[in-house]
């Protein structure tokens, strides 16, 4: 249906960008195949949003380790989407489940806006972090349902953690439904601001960051945070200050 020259243009523009260019045109509309291709992408993103982590799903992923399962105060998906505040706090059972647990570094696997991403990349990434975080007393992996990033603050606080690493499914884009984010927070406690966290995003092998790259980056940030006793926007300046102090070229402030 497309003329030969238009197919040539299509091929050429498509090599320059991942954007949906040179789609062709029927009247003011797109061809049928293009319309359906878009619908397929959107359907996959919608399914990823609705996906839930099953209770016990990750137990086989961590042989020999206890796996703790927690829920936020959001009762269901709709409440979770409408009330971000509910997704930032644990329900009573969840608070009880953490009683007596203690760790320096806590890794949380949270569904967020894409359980698909957490299911695909969460367990291997958590294992890779545990392997690399040799200087830390790590606790059991925590699985959090209907969770927002800040839920990690309450979990970490209850476990007396120095650092929490929240592995959470990112909002699905039309062409990437399985992107995982890692939010790293020093001295987690309720009320931490987003500016007090570091983020490693687009963890999505093979298209985005690999598990190895992400784990190395996360543990590097964790170690820097431990040295500087801070994460977030203040970390770079604190690091620079520390380096000056160690190099001895000039007074540190």
């Amino acid at each position: 249906m497309s003329a030969p020259v238009e197919r040539g243009l299509l091929a050429r523009l498509r090599t320059e960008t991942t954007a949906r260019v040179a789609l062709g045109r029927v009247g003011p509309a797109v061809p049928t195949s293009v319309a359906l291709d878009f619908q397929l992408s959107h359907a996959r993103a919608r399914d990823a949003i609705r996906q839930e982590l099953l209770r016990g799903q990750f137990v086989p992923e961590f042989p020999g380790r206890q796996v703790i399962e927690l829920h936020s105060r959001a009762a269901a998906r709709e409440a979770y989407l409408m009330r971000p505040d509910l997704g930032r706090r644990l329900d009573d059972a969840g608070r009880g489940a953490l009683a007596g647990l203690n760790a320096e570094l806590v890794v949380v696997l949270a569904d967020g806006l894409s359980a698909t991403a957490t299911a695909a990349h969460g367990p291997p990434l958590a294992r890779a972090i545990f392997e690399r975080a040799t200087g830390w007393r790590t606790g059991p992996p925590i699985v959090a349902h209907l969770a927002r990033v800040a839920l990690g603050d309450e979990i970490g606080e209850l476990m007396g953690a120095q650092l929490v690493v929240m592995l959470i499914g990112e909002r699905p884009g039309l062409s990437s439904v399985d992107s995982l984010g890692a939010y790293i927070t020093w001295q987690p406690k309720i009320g931490r601001q987003d500016s007090e966290r570091n983020c490693v995003s687009n963890i999505r092998p093979p298209h985005g960051l690999s598990i190895e790259q992400a784990a190395s980056e996360i543990v590097r940030i964790a170690q820097e945070a431990r040295l500087c006793r801070v994460t977030g926007v203040e970390l770079p300046a604190a690091l620079a200050n520390l380096r000056r102090k160690l190099d001895g070229d000039g007074p540190a402030d």
Binding site: E6, L13, E16, T17, A19, R20, R25, P28, F38, P84
Partner: protein
């Protein structure tokens, strides 16, 4: 003028309906309760407690005199420079024709056959954002369409935006890594589909001014090479734009995201003083050929609450206050990014449609060249069918411009907006044309025929010849 608090301020608003007394402690809670239901107001704890309470609030609101909004600002004058801007620049002469009206009567005045667009435009500087918000809360969707349709707001830089019978588009060629060739490919694709008369505007993925300068030069070369009567923009923070101006980069328009309270604007890293400075610097370039509307603003309901700077005011009233900020700078373009913020502020297609119509009407009522980014994220209860309805209804309402994103899929920002094709659809079913200078140019370069219809893109390509970065297009 600094408002003098009147006695009613301390009295609650109340009404008895069939044995139930509905009370609202102050004007801001009355406005919030009168607002059609949306998730952001519920999240803030400001929504009406029941469906009946919502209508009770509207019944009370309808009887309030417009004057009240001058004496009882929803955010204190002492605390907020946006309130001070609203009060201090209120035009009493423009207000004199409507000052005797209640909010309910104001709705009827706006819809009256005898009230034309010119009369509404003449009153604009006498209408405060809170008056606009209040009357919109008493209006059904069809009222918002019918009243907005009367108002035309015309602005100029290198072409003329906002004339009746016209629909402009912002060509939005974003790329996840700001790759200039990738962006050029999307620009070419859009131009071949008649998009870009409002502006070719890139949201950069990063803040690096070196990269942004490269993109500005590329867009300028494309514009000059094609002799296109339009303007370009890279949507970065005003401080970056001022840096780029100092470096001599080709800046046509100065962009900024704005909100309706001083605190929320501080969260965006801006103040009115900074915007004044940016406006002056951009005006001084004198790059417009037909006019000197040089600012481009984006807004969106919910931005104040998301930065916890909403002062217990509902999100739609705060959105209108952002328009007071915008109109100080006689912008070329303003658009609300209505569905971008997510379902915790606007839950589904119905709420996004309502907000889009409110934002468009209130913006036009306050005298702004109002466009809409008709859009949704994947976690909202919305899809292309919802966007089709919103675009069609906004087209009937006379929206100034919409976005043009390749295939609706913004691969950098990760959301869905209107496509180049969607604009073609609207122009087709509603008989609308691009800005006149741009429409003429499309014909001259051979993208459209003498009837303004698109020709085959291979023929148009041959007419373009070549484009920076993409080389000879006839090859």
């Amino acid at each position: 003028m600094r408002p003098h608090k009147i006695e009613e301020r301390t009295l609650a608003f109340r009404i008895d309906l069939g044995g139930t007394r509905h009370c609202f402690p102050d004007l801001r809670s009355l406005l919030a309760a009168a607002t059609p239901l949306r998730s952001g107001d519920a999240l803030a704890g400001l929504a009406a407690q029941s469906a009946e309470a919502r209508i009770a609030a509207r019944l009370i609101l309808a009887d309030q005199p417009l004057d009240l909004f001058l004496s009882d600002p929803v955010v204190p004058y002492e605390l907020d420079e946006v309130t001070r801007l609203i009060c201090d620049t209120h035009d009493a002469a423009a207000f004199s024709g409507i000052r005797h009206l209640t909010v309910g009567a104001f709705r009827e005045w706006l819809l009256d056959d005898r009230t034309g667009g010119a009369a509404i435009a003449a009153a604009a500087r006498g209408i405060t954002p809170e008056m606009a918000a209040a009357v919109s809360k008493l209006m059904r969707n069809q009222d918002l369409v019918a009243a907005a349709r009367k108002i035309s707001v015309v602005t100029r830089f290198r072409n003329t935006i906002g004339l009746p019978g016209r629909l402009s588009t912002r060509l939005q060629p974003n790329h996840p890594t700001d790759d200039p060739r990738g962006i050029a490919a999307s620009v070419l694709d859009g131009l071949l589909l008649g998009s870009g008369d409002a502006v070719i505007g890139i949201n950069p993925a990063g803040d690096d001014t070196g990269t942004i300068a490269t993109l500005l030069h590329m867009l300028d070369e494309i514009r000059l090479g094609l002799k296109m009567p339009g303007q370009t923009c890279v949507l970065t923070h005003v401080t970056n734009t001022m840096d780029l101006i100092r470096q001599g980069a080709p800046v046509d328009l100065c962009f900024q995201s704005i909100a309706g309270t001083e605190d929320a604007n501080r969260g965006f890293g801006i103040s009115l003083a900074l915007l004044d400075e940016a406006w002056d610097a951009t005006l001084a370039l004198g790059r417009g050929t037909l006019g000197d509307n040089v600012m481009y603003f984006e807004t969106g309901q919910g931005s104040c609450l998301s930065s916890e700077s909403h002062h217990e005011v509902d999100q739609q009233t705060l959105e209108c206050r952002a328009y007071a900020v915008a109109r100080r700078y006689r912008p070329l373009l303003v658009n609300s990014v209505v569905g971008f913020i997510g379902p915790e502020y606007l839950y589904d297609g119905k709420q996004i449609l309502r907000a889009a119509l409110e934002d468009h009407f209130c913006g036009k009522l306050l005298g702004l060249p109002m466009g809409l980014d008709i859009c949704y994220t994947n976690h909202a209860e919305a899809d292309q069918d919802d966007m089709d309805v919103i675009a069609t209804v906004l087209g009937v309402a006379g929206v100034t411009f919409i976005m043009g994103v390749p295939g609706s899929d913004d691969v950098m920002l990760g959301y869905q907006s209107t496509s180049f094709h969607d604009a073609l659809y609207l122009r087709d079913v509603l008989g609308l044309a691009p800005a006149p200078e741009f429409a003429e140019w499309l014909q001259t370069v051979g993208v459209t025929d003498t009837h303004g219809r698109l020709v085959r893109s291979d023929q148009a390509l041959a007419a373009f010849g070549s484009l920076p970065l993409l080389g000879d297009l006839r090859a």
